[in-house]
């Protein structure tokens, strides 16, 4: 009885988790449908971030040209664009071929095929006919570059066509299309019932439910007039729900989107994403999306904390401290020790922050807990226990910024989530400019960051002096400080605590953390991973993740995967503790040095990697000498401070200073490596993304730029400038 109850509860919890994920994914990367009007391009570029796909409708009155022109222009601006191809606006096959050529040249890989309104201008009376032409022309290269072809679905029916006819048409289109977008709809129940009917009828295409964005009525009317009154009236007839749009205060799709997620959750294909009809209100819709996403993320948090209460890792509290202090009672083990099982669903090699976070999110976000983390030494013995723990998100490319920003968000909530004090101190991060050139790059970076909502500002030398009083900001300095890039959300964290916190929480959710367990071989057969050989015997697993940073080439080689990685030692040093005087992280790329003061009062210094590749973690005098001279250039008053320790960790450097994440050509063998000198800050987001990649079998958008195949394809990531010494 209680068993069924608890499994029912678990089921509903898993469902809830899926809904939230679906919702988050849908809000993170929706499709915005825009009209090809003057001013649309500007509105999109001004308001819409690049992770949103933009679909451009076709206007029966103005023909295909405005659609193509706007699509090309947006594609040039870096958007993923989907032009609508209205069959009735296409004259003949050569017209079609020309258009597909232009589309292909613009780098567009996705089209949406509709019938279009009005009389056919040429030989295609409906979308099916056009799709057939596409299919037949495939042999001689027609549309060969296309990866996606969408078609429309009508949950509320069509005024002129019967439901049975609609279903038959969809079945006919299915072989030449890859996804479905539903017409504007205002009832989640209607959509989900329709999806069920379609599935029963044999339509298996992924579905993007179409919803209206935030629309105020005056704007709607203006657009309606511009489109042409006749059309807008037809529009109204087709969408009786539209009347709701005209209620005062406008319309917000919050409730609808939430309900869609909850009804369609069990299958990701039933809500492959969200298609938002912006109806000309691009800015308002984008504002709404951001708010809704924020709320969803908060909900995910609350959800996670609720889950934690169900299976709580033993609580650390002031009361417990007193109790243990008084009774002398030993603390329970933070993570359990186990004998390795014969096999696991997922084996993660490497007990650093990346491996442990991946395990934790597999268990919490996806309910996959038959997972082992194998660590050859003790957890955190690699880079994760040796880094200088600087967190920031002011990267240079949009991909970089989004990625690291997500990580900072997760870090911010981590102490609460893991019930473990990770000592995240958001104290601000300063990158000093010693030349006009670096000042210019910083301005650029600050502007890119703003676009993604990351707080980042260029400040002048006086402001720098105010923030860090002991810096030598005089113009007599050998490398005078001209200004700095100030990034207030950046800071430092206690790296060991992050490792321990993840290990403890993962263990509480059933993950096995095996220390002193070295992977010595990987079994691959028929192009598939079968398991690993370890110093404690063989372990079978259909999925093996390489999260071994500096050692990652060696692990990949065991699976027969070659990598563009070179291992370089990176050194750091720490002084004796002094009273707090340095309240921000200070980085100088020119001088190859950075510093921060820990909560204990020590000054932590870091620099750039050693000058040659090596697996040795011995420190060198050259490093200390160079470091000292550079630190004293910046802050002469540190001359009397004594260095207590110096150490080195191994960094897996890639040619483009970006990580390598996701699947490899060996099925079931995934990598999360190439984290070089900057990967600690990415631990949480990488864990989350890798867990999603493993659980869903799909590479999340957020990490799609980081695939191993980019090197063979020459698609390197342009992050070097911001990643090199900045940390």
């Amino acid at each position: 009885m209680t068993e069924t109850l608890s499994s029912a509860r678990e089921l509903s919890r898993a469902l809830e988790a899926m809904q939230r994920q679906l919702l988050e994914a849908a809000l993170r990367r929706p499709r915005y449908e825009v009209l090809p009007l003057d001013g649309t391009a500007d509105a999109v570029v001004d308001h819409v971030p690049r992770e949103v796909t933009v679909t451009v409708t076709a206007s029966p009155r103005r023909g295909m040209e405005p659609t193509l022109a706007l699509s090309e222009s947006l594609a040039r601006q870096g958007y993923r664009v989907v032009p609508h191809l209205a069959a009735r606006l296409v004259i003949d096959e050569s017209h079609l071929r020309d258009m597909l050529c232009r589309i292909s040249e613009a780098g567009i890989r996705d089209i949406f095929v509709i019938a279009g309104d009005g009389e056919p201008a040429g030989v295609f009376p409906d979308s099916l006919r056009l799709l057939s032409a596409l299919r037949e022309g495939q042999g001689d290269g027609l549309g060969q570059h296309l990866e996606q072809v969408g078609v429309a679905g009508y949950p509320e029916g069509h005024p002129d066509v019967s439901d049975a006819q609609l279903t038959r048409a969809l079945l006919a289109k299915q072989p030449s299309s890859t996804y479905l977008v539903t017409q504007l709809c205002f009832s989640a129940r209607t959509v989900s019932a329709w999806v069920d009917r379609m599935r029963a009828a044999g339509v298996s295409l992924p579905v993007y439910p179409g919803v209206a964005g935030v629309v105020d009525q005056r704007k709607l009317l203006r657009v309606a007039q511009r489109i042409g009154v006749g059309q807008s009236v037809r529009f109204l007839r087709k969408h009786h729900g539209l009347l709701r749009l005209l209620s005062p205060g406008g319309y917000r799709p919050d409730g609808l989107v939430r309900e869609l997620a909850s009804r369609l959750a069990p299958s990701a294909d039933d809500m492959a994403g969200l298609h938002v009809y912006t109806l000309g209100a691009v800015a308002a819709t984008e504002r709404w999306r951001r708010e809704a996403l924020e709320q969803t993320l908060e909900a995910v948090d609350r959800h996670r904390s609720r889950r934690r209460r169900v299976a709580p890792p033993s609580r650390y509290s002031a009361l417990a401290l007193v109790r243990h202090g008084v009774t002398g009672q030993a603390w329970p083990r933070a993570w359990d020790r186990h004998e390795p099982r014969d096999g696991y669903d997922v084996v993660i090699v490497g007990g650093g922050v990346h491996g442990l976070a991946t395990a934790y999110y597999l268990a919490t976000n996806h309910g996959i807990d038959n997972v082992a983390v194998l660590e050859k030494s003790y957890i955190g013995s690699g880079g994760s226990g040796r880094n200088t723990a600087i967190l920031r998100s002011n990267y240079l490319t949009a991909e970089g910024v989004q990625f690291y920003d997500r990580s900072l968000q997760l870090y911010r909530r981590l102490a609460e989530e893991l019930n473990f004090n990770v000592m995240f101190s958001r104290r601000g991060h300063l990158t000093l400019a010693h030349s006009d050139a670096s000042l210019r790059t910083m301005r650029w970076r600050a502007e890119v960051n703003k676009l993604s909502g990351v707080d980042s500002e260029v400040i002048d030398a006086d402001e720098v002096q105010r923030l860090v009083p002991y810096l030598d900001t005089s113009t007599a300095a050998r490398y005078p400080i001209l200004g700095a890039l100030y990034h207030p959300p950046g800071g430092i964290i206690r790296h060991d605590a992050v490792v321990w916190g993840y290990a403890r929480a993962a263990s509480a959710f059933g993950v096995h953390v095996h220390q002193d367990t070295e992977v010595t071989g990987i079994d691959v057969n028929d192009g598939r991973v079968r398991g690993v050989q370890t110093t404690r015997g063989p372990i079978a697993a259909p999925i093996v993740v390489n999260a071994t940073a500096g050692w990652s080439s060696l692990i990949s080689a065991m699976a027969g995967v070659r990598m563009p990685v070179q291992t370089f030692p990176l050194q750091a040093a720490v002084t004796e503790p002094v009273r707090p005087f340095l309240h921000t992280v200070v980085v100088s790329g020119t001088l190859h040095v950075y510093m921060s003061q820990t909560a204990r009062g020590e000054i932590v210094f870091g620099a750039s990697v050693d000058p040659f590749a090596s697996y040795s973690t011995r420190g060198s005098l050259d490093f200390l000498e160079g470091l000292a001279s550079h630190v004293l250039e910046l802050m002469p008053s540190l001359a009397t401070l004594r260095v207590l320790r110096q150490w080195a960790g191994l960094c897996d450097m890639t040619p483009d200073f970006a990580p390598i994440m996701g699947r490899t050509h060996v099925e079931g063998f995934l990598v999360d490596v190439g984290w070089g000198t900057y990967g600690f800050k990415a631990g949480p987001v990488s864990g989350e993304a890798m867990a999603e990649c493993i659980a869903t079998g799909r590479t999340p958008e957020l990490i799609s730029a980081f695939g191993l195949h980019r090197f063979a394809e020459g698609e390197l990531v342009g992050e070097k400038g911001a990643a090199a010494v900045g940390h």
């Binding site: 990598m563 990685v565 291992t567």
Partner: protein
């Protein structure tokens, strides 16, 4: 830091040299496919053990050298002028 015995100049600290990385066979640029060429550009064995690599004595004789070094211990077992054999 380590000492590298330059065949021209004698033992010198590694920071007098530029490390140019492990030796990778260069495919024929006329005949290599893009993928082969990119493999050559980017892929590295990155061995933990004896490797054969190229160094350049930038602050000394300004000659290119072929060095056999153990990447775990950093022991160097041979240094020779580049092109004088001992290369893969």
């Amino acid at each position: 830091m380590i000492l590298l015995p330059c065949p021209w100049c004698g033992p010198r600290a590694a920071d007098e040299y530029a490390y140019l990385g492990e030796l990778t066979p260069r495919p024929d640029p006329q005949r290599a496919t893009r993928t082969e060429w990119r493999d050559y550009l980017y892929l590295r064995a990155n061995l933990a053990g004896w490797t054969t690599e190229r160094w350049y004595h930038r602050m000394g004789c300004r000659r290119y050298l072929t060095v056999q070094r153990h990447t775990v211990s950093n022991d160097v077992r041979s240094v020779a002028a580049a092109g004088s054999g001992g290369e893969p």
